[in-house]
């Protein structure tokens, strides 16, 4: 393992808040079963203050159950759930109610009350909190400005577009100044453009208010757009977690790889079909570059230092969290074992990951 992978390892370890404050959310060994099916299996997870954590998984992976364990809508069978430093396992409905007022939640289908106007929907958490009409009105006006729907205060949800409805949902979730925002597939029912505008709004709110956000999604694009860290849930277990750029660059779990497929360059099919294991005249090597690595004249240096001539078959470099993250497929002459090994060693020192995929067999 080289120095960089060591660094990566350190970054993926349990993060700590610089100020030493407790995480906003801490789950330890949480499990939940529904009859014979295991929804959550030994899940441990922390969310730091001000962080946006993306929780991704396929449908049925347990995402919804996990998010509902945080506000007590679901009760775990075992394990510890702490929100804002307070354990919520074993609390009764009455004790959970004031706690839930500190947690905002937005939903895939918005869940706005159809019989209430936009303003009354946004005011509901404040009404529940017991605020008077005048105080509510002021806060609602603030929130309407924040979401850019001041002119829709007296409209009913049925008169709004999907994106507008979700904006109202966000305003309602923020009304009682929560410490944590839960987003349950909040953009899954929206078209791509609206999704982008909603994600941008959430990111703005995260930056401006320092609000901690947990968003669950089945789309890596959502995670990439706004999350700082990502946790991958598969069959009730967290199979991978780390900074988004790290997971995008070097996904480890099979589930993560398959969820990322659309975002990563893959070997063109025509070549992949002719790929055989072992070395050959046309050996194929995949290298993963992150950050500054992507800028270096890798192939020129390889030729100058080792004397190996590599050609670029395919690849791409993308930007994730402001870092370059890319995968390149190189073709090298692998007939000489020593020189091939030297070339691979050289690459290993310069990039994040090197994988020898095999060699291309020519059509005979």
């Amino acid at each position: 393992m080289n120095a960089l992978t060591g660094l990566l390892g350190a970054l993926t370890a349990e993060p700590t808040d610089e100020a030493g404050r407790p995480p906003v959310v801490r789950l330890a060994k949480v499990s939940k079963r529904f009859g014979a099916t295991t929804a959550l299996d030994d899940v441990s997870l922390s969310i730091q203050r001000g962080e946006v954590l993306g929780l991704i998984g396929r449908s049925g992976a347990g995402k919804s159950t996990l998010i509902r364990c945080l506000n007590g809508l679901e009760r775990p069978d075992g394990g510890e759930v702490e929100v804002d430093g307070r354990s919520i396992v074993g609390l009764g409905e009455r004790e959970l109610q004031p706690l839930r007022r500190r947690i905002g939640m937005i939903f895939q289908h918005f869940n706005l009350l159809s019989a209430k106007t936009v303003a009354d929907n946004i005011a509901l958490p404040l009404k529940i909190e017991g605020q008077g009409r005048a105080a509510r009105r002021g806060r609602v006006a603030e929130l309407l400005d924040l979401i850019g729907l001041a002119d829709k205060a007296n409209a009913y949800p049925a008169q709004l577009s999907g994106g507008q409805k979700q904006r109202v949902g966000i305003a309602r979730a923020l009304a009682a100044r929560p410490a944590l925002l839960l987003s349950d597939e909040a953009t899954s029912a929206l078209d791509p453009e609206t999704t982008d505008s909603i994600l941008a709004l959430l990111k703005d709110i995260n930056r401006a208010l320092g609000l901690t956000i947990l968003l669950i999604t089945h789309e890596m694009g959502v995670v990439r757009a706004i999350a700082d860290r990502v946790a991958v849930l598969d069959e009730g277990r967290i199979v991978e977690q780390g900074p988004v750029w790290r997971v995008f660059a070097t996904p480890r779990a099979a589930t993560t790889r398959s969820l990322l497929r659309a975002f990563q360059p893959t070997l063109p099919e025509a070549l992949a079909a002719r790929l055989a294991p072992g070395r050959g005249a046309r050996s194929v090597v995949k290298v993963v570059v992150v950050g500054e690595q992507a800028r270096e004249p890798l192939l020129a240096e390889l030729a100058l230092t080792i004397g190996a001539r590599a050609s670029l078959l395919h690849g791409g470099v993308d930007e994730v969290q402001g870092r370059a993250v890319g995968a390149l497929f190189l073709e090298l002459d692998g007939r000489n074992e020593t020189s091939f090994a030297a070339a691979v060693d050289f690459l290993r020192q310069r990039v994040s990951e090197v994988e020898t995929l095999g060699h291309v067999v020519d059509d005979a």
């Binding site: 506000n71 839930r100 009350l113 509901l124």
Partner: protein, 224 residues
């Protein structure tokens, strides 16, 4: 229309209106909470009490299954206890109410069940208690359905009040039976039937308008 016909018709119409409105009000006041109770106490409801749910459900079913004409006679002792007599408008209100309460309870239950569970979840996630869920979510969201169901109940009550005429309750039904049927004055019967049709049509029209006005979701409008 002769003046004698009008003299007969007007008090009868008034009696029918009194019976319908009185029994309707009772069914609204008692049937609506029972409908709410049936939804709340059901499995997965906001106040899960399955045994109570089954019990109330059975009582409601029993009330719904007794033919009205039998109920009319069967509750006479109770009617005497409450009203002091078993004949007349006031006396008819008792069996009419008893029949209408479980009827409206089931209709109200259906309306409450139509409320999107996601809205209840949202209210819970906001930290709302049961009262919040009832007053801010269930009742306002179910209101158009509750209004439409109440119209159905009132129309049914007009029909039932005519049946109550068989035991001398007064009202349009009583008039039709005494003059139209027993005295073979077919013209009276026809006039009564026409008045009943007009009454039901007017009531339905008002009910539809009310439900539509209460509906902000666009659901009722779309269905029509």
């Amino acid at each position: 229309m002769s003046s004698t016909m009008l003299e007969l018709l007007w008090p009868s119409l008034l009696e029918t209106a009194i019976m319908t409105v009185a029994a309707g009000s009772v069914s609204l006041a008692l049937g609506l909470p029972i409908g709410l109770l049936l939804v709340a106490t059901d499995r997965g409801g906001i106040w899960e009490r399955v045994l109570l749910n089954r019990l109330v459900g059975a009582v409601v079913n029993a009330g719904r299954s007794i033919p009205f004409i039998i109920l009319l006679v069967a509750v006479i002792p109770l009617t005497r206890l409450i009203v002091g007599t078993s004949i007349g408008v006031a006396a008819a209100i008792v069996p009419l109410s008893i029949a209408a309460i479980p009827y409206y309870a089931r209709i109200a239950e259906l309306s409450f069940r139509e409320v999107d569970p996601g809205l209840i979840e949202a209210a819970r996630a906001m930290g709302g208690n049961r009262w919040t869920i009832v007053s801010e979510v269930l009742v306002p969201e179910a209101l158009p359905g509750l209004a439409a169901g109440f119209t159905v109940t009132l129309v049914t009550l007009i029909g039932a009040s005519a049946m109550a005429g068989a035991v001398g309750s007064g009202g349009l039904g009583d008039l039709a039976i005494r003059y139209g049927y027993q005295r073979f004055e077919t013209d009276v019967m026809i006039v009564v039937v026409v008045v009943l049709i007009a009454l039901v049509c007017a009531l339905q029209w008002v009910g539809d308008k009310t439900a539509m006005r209460l509906d902000k979701s666009g659901r009722f409008r779309a269905e029509r």
